[in-house]
Amino acid sequence: MSPAALLLSGAVRAYELTLRPVIGANCRFYPSCSAYAREALACHGAGRGSLLAAKRILRCHPFNAGGYDPVPTPKDS
């Protein structure tokens, strides 16, 4: 992982361990938005990973069915 991606990933992990227990788990997906974000950062780097995570959070609302929604695999053939 690039330093930027590592930093972002660390921030997400910090959220999981501090803020999330406070506000409760509210995710409608598997993997949860934070787990999705960390995986996306690891597979796609800081830029695209952040974008994917942001798009996922925007999907995670009561009017979306939720369910299983894995991180897309990188298409760098």
């Binding site: 999981e16 361990l17 501090t18 999330r20 227990p21 406070v22 506000i23 409760g24 788990a25 509210n26 995710c27 409608r28 997906f29 598997y30 949860s32 938005c33 959070i57 925007l58 999907r59 995670c60 609302h61 009561p62 009017f63 979306n64 069915a65 939720g66 369910g67 299983y68």
Partner: protein, 581 residues
């Protein structure tokens, strides 16, 4: 439960607690208002007394003598005096604000005399480009009256002996604003060019620590943009630059000054004039040796024709940052973004409306605690439809229990697979108990804005709730570690962490209840944090302003109530249908 794991969890949570203490110390400074500021103000008051004794001491040679003749100032909301030696506004006491919640405690003193420990003042003067004799710090001005009041303006004058009479036409209104006209009468035969200036100076660094929630220090609005330069940054920048100038800019009008959490001293030049503004740091013989200054000087000189006169008008604010009063001055004198003296922050589009809402509720109910509670209920009601929507299908959830039980049986050794399958089931059955991350993400800025409003605004200062809570801006004064005062000893003398009041304990309890209703996360590390969060939060919030803890408690209770209500509503109709056909 496995003892080893329990011990590990405990160790982790205490480790986190320890880290939080450090973090809190740095970022959520101990509701600084009361203790730190009181000490500072007490010092200020003491400094004034000391100044009287030390007047004329060699160390103060460069500054104006602290004593000497003074012009008394008496207005409805402030009183004090202006030092006629150097014409310094170095003695302002706010009539409406006491240092502590005790009614007989000293009034808040926001300026301090030169020569004392905490010199803090405003001053107006002129710079002459070509050797014209202008008034300086040792100039003794002659007042036209003994006392400055809203009904009776006073003119200070001084003749330079070279045909120029310098005048300061002083007015004060019924709140916190002085009007200062710097007038020069030219009796000579030649025209004179002068640059009027104004400055706010603090010859010491206050002990109140800045934090990321709260700014205090030199600030101003230049070209419509707020500039905040903390004491530390100003000092380190100033020490690198010539003349100690850390920041300079020019533009039309604006305002500049130095602020504390609740108090502000600021100069406001004529808004149509083009001003050069600077923020600087220098060494002086007063106070603790370092002087922080924000100043204005006109970019083009004022022409004083032979046999004529010319004046330059400024305003000087020395008072409490009451938002309504700041807003009033902003429109009265067209001061750009004067309300930004209150540190509403980058989220001001959220913090300001929230503030007005709370302030309005406060005037309605007469109690800031009630205002916070009503506001919390309002926010909950606003988001209720969203939460309730996600629980709409809770009834069918119950009918689906057998399927979930079957999945649990199928994947009993693989929690990841189980979660994945459960989520898929939710999707195919079109039900999902969680309300989603987006609503949470939307709510977080609102929570933070409210936190900030409660933390920064003077309207909360010394605002009582009920019972034992006499000041919502200070931490709950009770402490469980001396059994709420039964044992006469202060546990904080051992470690400042040993302070947990009754309200924070109630908060912790409600948080635990709320968590009970939520499913625990699958990640074991998160699960541990989840368990100990109520404890950690109780300790963390114990030292925050009671108003915040009240908000948090109220929010938890409402969350529990909401969940209970929704579950009941969702489950009730189904219960009338016989479960076994």
């Amino acid at each position: 439960m496995d003892t080893k794991r329990l011990i590990l969890a405990l160790a982790i949570s205490f480790g986190i607690l320890a880290v939080f203490t450090v973090v809190q110390e740095k970022f959520f400074p101990h509701p600084a208002p009361s203790p730190a500021q009181t000490v500072q103000q007490a010092k200020e008051a003491a400094g004034t007394k000391q100044a009287a004794i030390e007047a004329g001491a060699p160390g103060t040679a460069q500054s104006a003598p602290a004593n000497g003749p003074r012009l008394a100032v008496d207005a409805p909301m402030l009183k004090g005096s202006i030092g006629l030696t150097g014409a310094v506004f170095d003695d302002v006491v706010l009539k409406g604000y006491h240092e502590t919640i005790a009614k007989d405690s000293p009034l808040v003193q926001i300026e301090g005399r030169r020569g004392g420990d905490t010199p803090s003042y405003a001053q107006f003067g002129w710079t002459a480009p070509d050797g014209v004799k202008v008034p300086d710090n040792s100039t003794v001005w002659t007042p036209s009256a003994q006392t400055l009041t809203p009904g009776s303006p006073v003119t200070l004058s001084w003749d330079n002996g070279q045909g120029l009479t310098f005048q300061l036409l002083l007015k004060i209104d019924d709140k916190f604003m002085f009007t200062v006209i710097q007038n020069v009468v030219n009796h000579g035969a030649a025209p004179v060019k002068l640059y009027p200036w104004s400055r706010v100076v603090r010859d010491y660094q206050p002990k109140v620590a800045s934090s990321w929630v709260l700014f205090d220090g030199p600030l101003g609005v230049f070209n419509g943009t707020l500039k905040q330069e903390g004491y530390g940054a100003l000092k380190s920048e100033g020490e690198k630059k010539a003349g100690g100038v850390a920041y300079s800019t020019s533009g039309p009008g604006g305002w500049a000054g130095i602020t504390d959490k609740y108090w502000l001293t600021a100069v406001v030049p004529t808004q149509s004039a083009t001003m050069n503004a600077t923020m600087s740091y220098g060494t002086v013989s007063d106070g603790d040796g370092g002087a922080y200054q924000t100043s204005f000087i006109t970019q083009t000189p004022l022409d004083v024709p032979a046999g004529g006169q010319a004046g330059f008008t400024s305003h000087l604010f020395t008072g409490a940052k009451v938002v309504k009063i700041l807003d009033q001055y902003q429109s009265q004198y067209q001061i750009p973004a004067f309300y930004k003296a209150v540190d509403f922050g980058h989220l001001y589009f959220l913090t300001k409306p929230i503030f007005f809402c709370l302030d309005w509720l406060n005037t309605l109910t007469g109690n800031f605690g009630l205002a916070i509670i009503i506001f919390t209920i309002g926010v909950k009601l606003l988001f209720f439809p969203l939460a309730s929507y996600s629980y709409r299908s809770m009834g069918r959830m119950k009918a689906m229990q057998p399927k979930i039980a079957a999945l649990k049986e199928q994947y009993k050794d693989d929690s990841t697979k189980l979660q994945q399958a459960t989520m898929e089931l939710y999707r195919s059955e079109k039900i999902n108990p969680a309300s989603g991350c987006l609503p949470m993400v939307v709510q977080i800025p609102v929570f933070f804005a409210l936190y900030k409003v409660i933390f920064i605004t003077i309207e909360m200062r010394h605002a009582p709730f009920f019972g034992w809570l006499h000041d919502l801006s200070a931490p709950d004064p009770t402490n469980i570690f001396n059994l709420f005062g039964l044992i006469p000893f202060d546990p904080m003398s051992i470690n400042p962490i040993l302070h947990v009041g009754l309200l924070p304990i109630i908060m912790g309890g409600t948080m635990y209840l709320q968590q009970k209703l939520n499913p625990a996360p699958a990640d074991p590390a998160q699960q541990k944090m989840f368990q100990f969060m109520p404890v950690i939060f109780t300790f963390m919030l114990a030292r925050s302003p009671a108003g915040l803890v009240l908000y948090w408690t109220c929010n938890n209770i409402l969350s529990v109530g909401q969940q209970w209500l929704i579950m009941r509503r969702a489950m009730a109709p189904k219960q009338t249908v016989p479960a076994k056909g």
